[in-house]
């Protein structure tokens, strides 16, 4: 209770500082706060949070950041070397210095939320909160109470954007921890096409709390590829609620790549509302030390002839803890559905743990649904096969671990991301597998 109160006190302080706001925003803040107060932080007796303990968040004392200062040199080192339209937030605060929105093509709007609200708050008020309301979870309620900043991406119908849109979130190391409650709102018009890269990264010893809410709306025939690359420092706390809405013939592809963060919880939901809509969820998580990574996904097949595919891979070392909960719901009369779900996990240490639950809830008969989950260690025969070809054991095991991740990484269309992830995975592997050199050599070979 007192945990909740300290967050509410923080909110009251902030509201006093902020001054007057449009009435709908104030009303939502109130609704969010009321809901958060009523629910309190989730605990492990709630089925959805059975394996994830959020006391690191509820007991924390987080300020709200008010500057976006960041050393340009370290920002440059953290930024993905990719040519795109870039919005950068430092501890949730927009940094125009680190952003690059030059030459936005017509039909594409990329704006920080604060700016969009200042220009025309009513146009934002309609879609914002339509998919993820305060009811979804205590964290979405908390976000609604606090929200100020974030990213707004609008694609006019028929707009095809070649360069990726990069949303960069930097976490800063400071004497006291901060929290941020960013919102991402994507409205993709009919037959538009774009790639969004959401990149969370930070200074080594940062220990901040990010509570993100994303709403993505795809109109008829829209195509969106969404990378969520989480490389936050190992003390960072990260909660994300991502809700996608898909109209007829739209295609949403998600790459949820979690390599960093101390406590990570992703809720990824898609509503397949129109015939021919298709969702692909790819995921890779790699935890070590005491990292905790929880991925909850849900595909709601609300219309006939809709398709979902899911492939999540987990690598866990030391005392890391992984959670995967994938769910497919096929509504009554949603016939001709195809849904596939797969989760494979590799445990590299005896103290690592994985809890996985691939669920199906099906109320229609003309469906093809399958799911599978496996957990195990490297195939000894494969290790033997590589050793018989002259590789030492460490390299053989390392290579096989990379190959395990490769099944997801092969789907990645952007080389910059694929290489970055491979390097990070290789770098995070135990010393005995140390492969960074080998991968670098392979990357170099690729470039020639």
């Amino acid at each position: 209770m007192s945990d909740v109160q300290s967050f509410l006190d923080r909110l009251a302080e902030r509201n006093a500082e902020r001054g007057s706001e449009p009435s709908w925003i104030a009303a939502r803040r109130q609704a969010g706060a009321a809901r958060f107060e009523a629910m309190g932080f989730p605990h492990r007796r709630i089925e959805q949070w059975k394996y994830t303990d959020v006391r690191a968040i509820s007991r924390g004392d987080f300020r709200l950041a008010d500057s976006a200062e960041f050393s340009p040199a370290s920002a440059a080192a953290l930024t993905l070397p990719i040519d795109g339209y870039r919005l950068t937030f430092v501890d949730g605060v927009f940094s125009s210095v680190l952003s690059d929105l030059a030459d936005l093509p017509s039909g594409l709007a990329v704006q920080p939320l604060s700016q969009a609200l200042a220009e025309n708050h009513e146009a934002v008020g309609g879609p914002l909160g339509r998919l993820t309301g305060v009811e979804f979870s205590a964290f979405s309620a908390l976000n609604t109470a606090f929200f100020e900043e974030g990213a707004l991406v609008r694609l006019a119908p028929g707009t095809v954007v070649e360069k990726p849109i990069v949303l960069q979130f930097l976490s800063r190391h400071a004497d006291s921890a901060v929290m941020s409650h960013p919102r991402i709102l994507v409205e993709a018009g009919g037959r538009s096409e774009a790639t969004i890269i959401e990149h969370h990264v930070g200074e080594k010893d940062a220990a901040n709390f990010t509570n993100l809410v994303e709403e993505i709306m795809l109109d008829r025939g829209a195509i969106l590829t969404h990378y969520k690359l989480l490389e936050s420092p190992e003390q960072d706390l990260h909660i994300a609620s991502i809700h996608v809405e898909q109209a007829r013939d739209s295609r949403y592809t998600s790459f949820n790549l979690t390599l960093g963060g101390g406590l990570v919880r992703n809720d990824l939901i898609t509503d397949l509302n129109g015939q021919g809509a298709e969702a692909t969820f790819n995921g890779l998580f790699h935890g070590r030390n005491r990292q905790h990574v929880d991925n909850h996904t849900l595909a709601n097949h609300n219309a006939p002839h809709t398709f979902s595919r899911e492939n999540y891979k987990g690598i866990l070392d030391d005392r890391a803890h992984g959670v995967f909960n994938g769910k497919v719901i096929v509504k009554r009369d949603s016939q001709k559905i195809e849904a596939e779900q797969s989760n494979a996990n590799l445990l590299l240490s005896d103290r690592a743990q994985i809890n996985t639950k691939p669920e199906l809830e099906i109320y229609a008969d003309d469906v093809k649904c399958a799911h599978g989950a496996t957990t195990g260690q490297l195939d000894e025969e494969a290790v033997f096969a590589l050793r018989a070809r002259g590789l030492d054991e460490a390299t053989a095991r390392g290579l096989l671990t990379l190959a395990f991740a490769g099944e997801v990484m092969d789907q990645v269309g952007l080389d910059v991301i694929a290489e970055r992830v491979e390097l990070t995975v290789a770098g995070k592997l135990p010393e005995r597998f140390n492969l960074a050199g080998l991968v670098q050599a392979a990357v170099a070979l690729n470039e020639d």
Partner: protein, 480 residues
């Protein structure tokens, strides 16, 4: 409070001694400590047993009914149930088969149940109990020779109190869950099996051969113990539909396997599922758990679930002993408005433990069915292995099939695999059969039986044949 007085009252009642005139008494509906004292008294139980029941009851009072299952039923009024009723007197039963519901008889016909058994199953008062009595007596002698104890749990509490006390509640503790606690407080019937060290039970045991099993209790409690290197195969239930006025059934089954012991437990459950609108069916809340206590012990659950309006049942194995093995084979069929939430738990604690789960669910009509399973690998279960396969078949577009498999893995040397599919009967399979002159209904039956084959072959042979027939009857009217 009045709890001290209550305790005194309870004790006093107990001191009054054993009442032998069982037939004359029943208790009015309602549950309190005096009801439990009454039951215990009726059964002529020792004092520790009463204490055990009361302890369970007190814990039950503090618990709430579970709501996590994918089931929808009105709240149960536990005070409206009568917790003890004496066996029915002959004059209250139907006097001949003519008085029995013709629908029931029709089903017996389809299942190929022998004529003389039909009367007994339908609850007809028969003075001289049919043939199987003499058979049963011969069996009893044979079991006695082998040293196997097989009797009702009430007899066991009277005749072998130390044995029962040593094992009862050690696998399913009194406060394990809401329904187990209720059962522990008020159970009135069930079986007790004890197979001593090194003995392989000379025959398959079945409640059917237990003479006093005619009145299968609403709250059954079964305890099976296999000592070192002992083996037993136990069959529960039968394929014939069973009528019962008691809507709530909450059974507890406990299995204990010591070193190198093997227990095979097969169930065919075909309680009344209710009418077309789901009215009047049995609510079946069962806690079944086996404890592989010894190294290399082996417990295998096989179940065919076709009856009951509501099934809530998770036969589980605790794999404690090194290299112990747990198995779960299940076919669950729901039709009409039936709801089933069933599955298993495999708790791997010991090194080298292995488990296999094969679950086949068939939903038809407006029924809903869920597989809910847990595979847990403890940090010490080095090299543990699990394979799970659960497939669902949907017949018709108004039913539902759901899968909730939990995996909690805490050991890097474990290998755990889970596979599941949900689909309807393939049009091409149906077409193939029909083009060869097989009617649609027969084709569906063939395909469904093929779908369940992996499980049926685990059943004892006679059971398997009956189970196939049962499946066909249950699915009647689901197609076409």
């Amino acid at each position: 409070m009045a709890s001290q007085e209550m305790e005194q009252l309870v004790r006093r009642e107990y001191k009054e001694g054993f009442v032998t005139d069982i037939e004359s008494e029943t208790v009015p509906p309602g549950l309190d400590e005096s009801t439990i004292a009454f039951i215990s008294n009726k059964k002529g139980e020792p004092e520790w047993m009463l204490e055990w029941r009361l302890d369970a009851y007190r814990q039950w009072l503090k618990m709430t009914a579970p709501s996590w299952a994918h089931l929808d039923y009105p709240p149960i009024d536990y005070q409206a149930i009568s917790y003890y009723s004496a066996p029915k007197r002959p004059e209250d039963r139907p006097q001949s088969l003519d008085e029995v519901d013709p629908k029931l008889l029709e089903t017996y016909e389809k299942l190929g149940i022998p004529l003389h058994e039909r009367a007994a199953l339908a609850g007809v008062a028969v003075d001289a109990v049919f043939d199987s009595v003499s058979v049963a007596t011969t069996f009893k002698d044979k079991l006695h020779e082998a040293g196997v104890i097989f009797c009702s749990i009430s007899e066991a509490i009277r005749d072998y109190p130390e044995l029962v006390r040593q094992y009862l509640g050690t696998v399913v503790p009194t406060a394990d869950n809401y329904f187990a606690a209720l059962n522990s407080a008020v159970f009135t019937d069930g079986s007790f099996v004890f197979v001593p060290e090194g003995v392989t039970c000379p025959m398959e045991l079945s409640t059917y051969f237990r003479i006093n099993a005619a009145n299968t209790g609403q709250f059954e409690r079964t305890l099976i113990v296999c000592e070192k290197q002992a083996q037993v195969s136990y069959l529960e239930g039968c394929t014939a539909p069973m009528r019962d006025e008691n809507q709530l059934h909450a059974a507890v089954v406990e299995l204990v396997a010591l070193e190198d012991a093997k227990i095979k437990y097969s169930t065919v459950q075909n309680w009344y599922p209710g009418d077309e609108n789901g009215k009047g069916g049995i609510y079946n809340f069962v806690t079944k758990r086996g404890d592989c206590r010894g190294d290399r012990s082996h417990i295998s659950w096989t179940q065919v679930e076709t009856g009951s309006a509501i099934t809530w049942k998770y036969p589980s194995c605790v794999l404690r002993g090194k290299d112990s093995i747990g198995e779960f084979y299940s076919v669950a069929v729901t039709n009409g408005r039936q709801q089933a939430d069933t599955g298993t738990k495999m708790i791997h604690l010991g090194e080298g433990t292995r488990s296999t789960i094969v679950s086949k669910g068939i939903s038809a009509g407006r029924s809903n069915q869920s597989y809910r399973g847990l595979v847990k690998i403890g940090p010490r279960a080095k090299g543990a292995r699990n394979f799970t396969q659960c497939d669902s078949l949907l017949i018709g577009d108004t039913c539902g099939a759901h899968t909730f498999p939990y995996q909690e893995i805490g050991n890097s040397t474990a290998t755990v695999e889970h596979e599941a599919t949900t689909s309807k009967i393939g049009e091409d399979q149906l077409f193939y059969c029909q083009s060869r002159g097989i009617s649609e209904e027969d084709a569906v039956n063939m395909i469904v039986n093929g779908f369940c084959k992996d499980v049926f072959q685990e059943l004892p042979m006679e059971f398997a044949v009956e189970a196939e027939a049962l499946l066909n009857v249950t699915l009647e009217g689901a197609v076409g």
